[in-house]
């Protein structure tokens, strides 16, 4: 049997084995296909699942870096904080986790009644993963909302910029938006420099950044701001501004302009007329520009301090005659031209220098370009490319061209510091660094003459700076007034004026230059006037009186100090000096 079986088995087995193998293979293929189908099915299912998954819109992840990005504190030159970061809670919601929208709306409005009901309902309904409800709240509100115990509503701590000086340095600091990005002032400038990059990389988060030190002295800034605010009520002006600069380093010590805004409430910056008048306002500088004309003329050598100028009659240009405001109508020496602010005399000085040389000097003083300065709010001055005879004549006493107060203060700094132009800066800078940036614009001698003229205008009888000197007695201040009539309906109006006072102190060893601007002032009382000496000049005096001791300038009443700045050539003309 076994043999038979052995005999037959191969034949049967041959068929059977083949069939068996075929069956087996088919079964394996089927299993394999099943496995593959299942495998692909799983992958497809997973793909569909992934496709269905909503992207997580929660604050976790990248966004957290952005909203918690901190900014470096801003300090004044003495280390007092001008801007700091504070951590404040912000309320957000996850609408898809909110169970009862109506209840959430009702409860939230008990703590935050300012939120509109329908807006809040809209906000909280839907299937979103993350929505802001209100940002930058107080810890007290955070506690109150947490007490409500609404599901799907939570807080996240954000960095918020806070300006402890409130309005005082608003135009210097600018402000930041809700995402902690600088939108104006030095905050914006910092962003363009480096902070934005740091924040983008997420490096700025929580890290203690090196403080930024500004050149501003908050004490001087307070006085300046106080005085320009005071000017708004005292003279019922529509605007006032002031800037003070260290003439050797170009550092801005104080800069204020009103109307201003509250940097803690950036929306207040959108109110009309709150722009920075020192950098972004351009005005006809009026007689303050006579200093520029005289400086240029003295530097050119065409005019000397002892020269005489015929101011008996007005200067005729075709149909126009330019005359003096308080005309002396006699022959004036150069110091008298300055002291009496003679338009005629200044035109003669400019003509002695030559109008092209005068125009070239304005370029040298950078009056026809933007001042190199960190604050982004800037306007290009309007100075004609070429002067006609009459254009040059009016420009010599500050009409027919518009520059910013910052231009003026930079020019006056150069005149006072020995003739070196230094671009102003809002960051700390020492004298050694500044000296490398010096650009000689007038000679030492011309600078000494201008210092003498400025002081002369303050202390000599009839000088337009006497109102200023009344308050600043002992601080050896001097300067020039400028009363520019405004153009109303195409004509110069005598009732609407922009007043300037550009000054430097202490003139025996000058350290600071200052420009004060008052827009459309009225007389303080019936005895006073509306010309610059009465308002811009008086403000300058009061500022110097308060600021000088802070800046380490001791008052000195000795006449010898005044006498020592009188140039020798003037002594021949006026032995008494002033």
């Amino acid at each position: 049997m076994a043999i038979t079986a052995d005999d037959f088995s191969p034949a049967i087995a041959l068929v059977g084995a083949r069939k068996q193998r075929v069956n087996l293979t088919q079964a394996r293929i089927r299993w394999m296909i099943l496995a593959l189908v299942l495998g692909f099915g799983v992958i497809c299912g997973r793909l569909v699942m992934l496709g269905m998954v909503e992207t997580d819109q929660s604050i976790e992840g990248q966004t957290r870096d952005v909203i918690q990005a901190s900014r470096p504190p801003i300090l004044d030159r003495n280390g007092l904080e001008m801007a700091v970061d504070i951590r404040v809670p912000s309320l957000y919601a996850e609408p898809r986790r909110i169970v009862d929208v109506e209840e959430a709306v009702r409860k939230l409005r008990t703590v935050l009644p300012d939120l509109r009901e329908d807006w809040l309902r809209n906000r909280l309904s839907g299937d979103k993963g993350f929505v802001w409800v209100q940002r930058e709240l107080t810890p007290a509100i955070e506690d109150a909302v947490m007490q409500l115990g609404i599901p799907g509503v939570d807080f996240i701590t954000e960095s918020k910029r806070f300006y402890p000086g409130m309005r005082e340095a608003s135009h210097i600091l600018g402000s930041t938006n809700v995402d902690n990005q600088g939108i104006a002032g030095i905050e914006r400038h910092m962003d363009t420099e480096s902070i934005a990059l740091l924040q983008e990389l997420g490096l700025a988060r929580g890290a203690a950044l090196t403080p930024v030190e500004l050149s501003i002295d908050m004490r001087a800034q307070h006085v300046m701001h106080d005085q320009v605010v005071d000017a708004m009520t005292r003279y019922q002006a529509i605007a006032a501004a002031g800037v003070m600069m260290d003439i050797h380093t170009g550092e801005i010590i104080a800069l204020a302009s009103v109307p201003d805004f509250d940097p803690n409430d950036p929306a207040s910056a959108l109110v009309k007329d709150t722009f920075n008048r020192v950098t972004a306002g351009i005005f006809e500088p009026g007689s303050t520009f006579k200093t520029v004309t005289l400086a240029g003329a003295l530097d050119s050598g065409m005019v000397k301090l002892t020269d005489q100028f015929d101011a008996r009659y007005g200067v005729r240009f075709g149909r126009f005659t330019i005359d003096d405001f308080h005309g002396k109508h006699r022959i004036l020496s150069l110091p008298e031209v300055y002291k009496y602010s003679s338009n005629i005399g200044t035109i003669r000085v400019m003509q002695a220098m030559g109008k092209d040389a005068f125009r070239a000097f304005l370029s040298r003083m950078k009056f026809d370009e933007r001042v190199q300065f960190e604050l982004p709010e800037m306007r290009v001055p309007t100075v004609p490319k070429e002067f006609s005879e009459v254009g040059a004549a009016t420009a010599s006493f500050g009409h027919g061209l518009s520059v910013s107060p910052l231009h003026l203060v930079a020019a006056y700094s150069a005149f006072a510091n020995g003739g070196n132009y230094i671009a102003p800066t809002i960051y700390k800078r020492d004298v050694a660094t500044a000296e490398q940036l010096y650009e000689r614009v007038i000679s030492e001698d011309a600078s000494a003459s201008i210092r003498y003229l400025m002081r002369l205008n303050a202390i000599s009888a009839g000088g337009s700076g006497s109102q200023m000197n009344k308050a600043a007695l002992g601080y050896r201040a001097g300067g020039k007034t400028g009363t520019a009539e405004k153009v109303v309906d195409g004509r110069y109006s005598s009732s609407k004026v922009t007043n300037f006072f550009a000054s430097a102190f202490p003139l025996d060893n000058p350290k600071y230059a200052m420009v004060i601007m008052v827009d459309e002032p009225k007389a303080e009382n019936p005895q006073s006037g509306t010309t610059a000496g009465w308002n811009a000049g008086a403000i300058t005096g009061r500022v110097i009186q308060r600021v000088a001791p802070m800046l380490g300038i001791a008052p000195d009443f000795s006449e010898a100090l005044d006498q020592q700045i009188v140039p020798a050539s003037v002594r021949q003309l006026y032995p008494e000096g002033f």
Partner: protein
Amino acid sequence: MIRTINIVLIFVSVAMLAGVYALKFSIEGTAAERTALTAKIHDQEGELSLLQADWAVLNQPGHVDPIVRRHEMELAVGPVKQEQFGAFTAIPMRPARPDTAAMDALFNAIAEGIDPIDAILELEGIE
């Protein structure tokens, strides 16, 4: 022999298992502690930032000035005037010689029992 080794190994592995679990839980505990501390630091940093901001506000000249103005009358203070400044050069030089006559008079008076300070104190109503 092998049985003993096995038993020992079983005990060792059980002990190690227990050790690993204990370590795991202690690490979890430490992590929780760390999270709590981080949260606390974060909270305190937030509070600190507010305190620093407060401090900065209180130090602002613009904040101090109105306070001074409010108390100007009571404290008899005012902005410094130019005349109030002095200099070392303005202080008169020390007299070349002491005033011997006045000193002698004073010492004699004290020796006689008259103390000029007593007179001043009586005048002021002290004592």
